[in-house]
């Protein structure tokens, strides 16, 4: 019965990889399981009433909002974002320099459409965001991974990597980086490295894709300038999202960059979904323009700061500290555990027995690695649940270590 589809699959279809989080979904859903696997916001931070106040806009502008919208995005929301992001972007970007998207995930697909031919190469942090690797992989990309440390991508290694790639005849299309509170490794790229990366990008004529879904969710320290703001030459595409600063159910993201590349991505978006829902874009705009975004964001940040602190102290309380290390994230959603003497697959199985789940490090590495790493999300669970889950994880580790 099904062979008619199979025999008509594309090569992409034969090679497509479902997300490993989906693969373990049935495990995560077992009763009693504490899961640090997903990357979801906590629903209790959602500003439900403030968001839905915006529904009133349908009373005055309903006929317009129920119609097809422009592919470029709802102009008032773009106007707001241009203003609101100006401190981070170094200036107010114009309407033609911005495209509203169906979440920032769509930016990954669109830049793939615009830039990537099968066999092309993308330079990324190693490890990197899984769904980005998947999106680029679907477009046929190969990857060069650059190691990371507490200051993010080890940028000093990039020139040599680019030179080697060129010598091998590889076409490097862009450098993909998550500068703030990296997913999965939690680190933040230092200012010096950001400047260096822009210099390298210019020297090699390779653009940068700066993915920043977590950038506004900072717990400690000062915001650093975006790479976009450090580059006057239009060589940086910046992607942002409402998923973490408002709510993911809106599916609204944006990208900012030189107008030629934005225009190309817009034409691809026409063929992909025509436009993002003008209704949800208008609801987001109402929320923002009434001042709720600025008023509510500190509450989201302090909710997650408390949970990060809870996870940090639970780690210190329950994990075998001589066997596990991590970088304390200054923002974002994730801890990344490094366990040189523990096989993560064995740990995962043991942890599931004890009813605690996480994501193994392996799928975050495009070219292999991560056998001794785990990604732990702290935003979704309560501090009490976090403590209990980390205790179980600590027990699993100790058993594996024979303690």
């Amino acid at each position: 019965m099904s062979t008619i589809w199979e025999s008509n699959y594309s090569n992409k279809s034969l090679n497509v990889r479902p997300s490993p989080i989906r693969e373990i979904l049935s495990v995560i859903k077992q009763p009693g399981m504490i899961s640090f696997a997903g990357g979801m916001p906590a629903p209790d931070v959602f500003p439900v009433d403030e968001f839905f106040e915006g529904v009133e806009i349908l009373r005055t502008d309903g006929r317009n909002l129920l119609q097809y919208g422009t592919t470029e995005g709802y102009p008032p929301l773009k106007g707001f974002l241009s203003e609101w992001t100006a401190p981070r972007m170094g200036r107010r970007v114009s309407q033609e320099e911005m495209l509203l998207t169906t979440g920032s995930q769509q930016v990954l697909d669109l830049i793939g459409w615009a830039m990537v031919d099968p066999g092309d190469t993308i330079l990324t942090e190693d490890p990197s965001y899984l769904a980005a690797l998947t999106a680029f992989h679907n477009h046929g990309a190969n990857f060069i991974g650059i190691p990371t440390d507490a200051e993010g991508m080890v940028v000093d290694m990039v020139p040599e990597a680019l030179e080697r790639a060129r010598a091998e005849g590889k076409r490097v299309k862009f450098i993909y980086t998550i500068v703030n509170f990296h997913n999965p490794c939690g680190s933040t790229m230092s200012l010096k490295r950001r400047e260096k990366l822009v210099e390298i990008s210019r020297r090699f004529n390779v653009p940068i894709f700066e993915d920043d879904p977590y950038g506004y969710v900072r717990f400690d320290g000062e915001h650093l300038p975006s790479i976009f703001s450090l580059d006057p030459n239009g060589g940086v595409l910046y992607a942002g999202s409402f998923s973490k600063i408002l709510a993911p159910g809106t599916r609204i993201g944006w990208c900012t960059g030189q107008k030629e590349i934005i225009r190309k991505m817009t034409v691809f978006k026409q063929a992909i979904d025509l436009c993002s829902s003008p209704i949800t874009q208008a609801l987001a705009y109402e929320y923002c323009s009434k001042g709720y975004l600025d008023r509510h964001l500190p509450k989201i940040i302090s909710n997650y700061r408390e949970k990060r602190d809870a996870m940090e102290s639970s780690f210190r309380r329950h994990l075998p500290l001589d066997e596990v290390s991590w970088v304390k994230p200054e923002g974002g959603f994730f801890y990344w555990l490094d366990m040189p003497n523990i096989d993560v697959k064995a740990l995962f199985d043991k942890a599931i027995e004890k009813k605690v789940a996480f994501v193994m490090g392996t799928p975050f590495f495009a070219n292999g690695g991560g056998e001794h790493n785990a990604r732990m999300n702290y935003t979704f669970s309560s501090p009490e649940t976090i403590d209990e889950g980390v205790r179980r994880l600590g027990d699993a580790m100790k058993e594996l270590l024979g303690r």
């Binding site: 099904s2 062979t3 008619i4 589809w5 025999s7 008509n8 594309s10 992409k12 279809s13 497509v16 997300s19 989906r22 979801m40 629903p43 209790d44 959602f46 439900v48 968001f51 839905f52 349908l58 309903g62 129920l66 119609q67 097809y68 919208g69 169906t102 995930q105 769509q106 990954l108 697909d109 459409w113 615009a114 830039m115 092309d120 769904a131 999106a135 679907n138 477009h139 004529n205 653009p207 030459n233 239009g234 709510a247 993911p248 159910g249 809106t250 599916r251 609204i252 030189q258 030629e260 590349i261 034409v267 691809f268 026409q270 063929a271 992909i272 979904d273 829902s277 209704i279 949800t280």
Partner: protein, 405 residues
């Protein structure tokens, strides 16, 4: 400045053409122009108050849940509503895993193309077809094998020879794309006999069908015909539906129904493309349906557009030189397709714009060329007065083309 990105563009970008319709639409937005060009619903037919009520109700009941990430497959209540609502048309109640909620039906084309098309593969379609779809397929690297059409839709009996020819040339046909009801742009509807034959041929050749049916529920006359999906017993048909025409396009909610294996593949691609369709939008649509508004308003929407079609037909008969123009009266949908054997549409377009009336040229709808003497008119958007006045102008423009001063 642009040199940074441009030298690194991918193949699809280098061959990317801005949509000719988009360029044309620019002209049609000039003040004073009466436009039959776009294919948009009439905002007057939007059930704004009912939708707003639904939006308010869902927030009271589900506010927190619908602000979270949703499953890629879609909001379960909406899926189960659709499963029963579409059952009469689909011939059965779809199972949960045979249904995928998408960002409009445009995304169905994109996802199926991800799953099936490698650069160089071929798609079979009507000789003229929806530009948005062929644009998407072209981005995926497809070329096209086109089948002539008449009042009963695709001339399906020509298909075996075309497929044979493709096979000889070594072309790999990945699916047959068809708009069976109230075709865009041709306005025709595929007859029952041809539907049966199409499914049989597709089964024999082992080629899937994408049945794109955004207008199917907007029927003005006659009885609904069975879907290709219902006529097929081997899971070879993917059906694409949409709320754009039965509710409103601003929701951006559509769906795909088909064999669970291909639906699953499409869902895996959707993960990478946009994770999930806005849960907020899906839940609003669900509540609207669940409160009974879909069934309550659909007859009103249909009646609204039937009247417009009839006004359009009357205006055409009154104002156009009948011996020079022919068309098939559409039984539903949005479009008239006019054929003018002695008039070049491009020339007519220039004269029409001078006279402040606009339509869309036939040519861009033909992926492999054709349509020089045909054009598309949308009847849903203009008011009755505009329709009458616009048709007068168009009639004059046709006459001018035939006997230039």
């Amino acid at each position: 400045m642009s040199s940074f990105w441009e030298p690194l563009y991918g193949r699809a970008t280098r061959s990317l053409k801005p949509s000719p319709i988009r360029e044309m639409l620019h002209l049609t937005r000039r003040p004073g122009i009466i436009s039959f060009a776009g294919g948009m619903p009439d905002p007057a037919a939007f059930p704004v108050d009912a939708f707003r009520e639904a939006a308010n109700r869902i927030l009271e009941e589900q506010g927190r849940d619908i602000l979270q990430y949703g499953t890629t497959e879609g909001y379960p209540p909406l899926k189960s509503f659709l499963s029963s609502w579409t059952a009469p048309r689909m011939g059965k109640a779809l199972a949960e895993d045979e249904l995928l909620i998408t960002a409009g039906s445009t995304q169905v084309v994109d996802l199926l193309s991800w799953a099936t098309i490698d650069p160089g593969d071929s798609i079979v379609c009507e000789e003229a077809t929806f530009l948005g779809s062929t644009g998407t397929m072209r981005n995926h690297g497809a070329s096209f094998i086109t089948v002539p059409c008449d009042a009963e839709g695709m001339k399906v009996d020509l298909l075996p020879a075309l497929l044979e020819g493709a096979k000889e040339k070594g072309q790999k046909v990945k699916y047959i794309y068809t708009i069976p009801n109230f075709h865009n742009p041709l306005g025709c509807t595929l007859s029952l006999e041809r539907r049966r034959l199409l499914v049989r041929i597709a089964q024999e050749w082992g080629i899937p069908i994408l049945e794109d049916d955004p207008y199917g529920y907007i029927r003005y006359d006659g009885e609904h015909l069975p879907t290709l999906f219902e006529l097929d017993d081997r899971g070879i048909v993917i059906y694409a539906g949409s709320f754009s025409k039965i509710l409103a396009p601003g929701t951006r909610v559509g769906w795909a129904a088909g064999d669970r294996e291909i639906v699953r593949k499409m869902a895996v691609f959707k993960q990478a493309v946009d994770v999930c369709t806005s849960v907020v939008a899906q839940a609003q649509v669900y509540k609207y349906c669940e409160l009974g508004y879909l069934d309550a308003f659909l007859p009103k929407i249909i009646a609204h557009y039937r009247k417009k079609r009839d006004d359009f037909e009357t205006a055409m008969r009154r104002s156009l030189p009948m011996e020079e123009v022919s068309w098939v009266k559409p039984q539903g949908g949005y479009f008239y397709w006019l054929q003018t054997p002695r008039v070049l549409a491009r020339e007519l377009f220039d004269r029409a714009i001078e006279k402040q009336v606009a339509f869309v040229l036939g040519e861009p709808f033909f992926p492999n060329g054709g349509g020089e003497r045909a054009f598309r008119m949308c009847f849903t958007f203009a008011s009755p007065e505009q329709t009458e006045e616009g048709m007068n102008r168009l009639g004059d423009a046709i006459r001018d083309c035939l006997s230039p001063a």
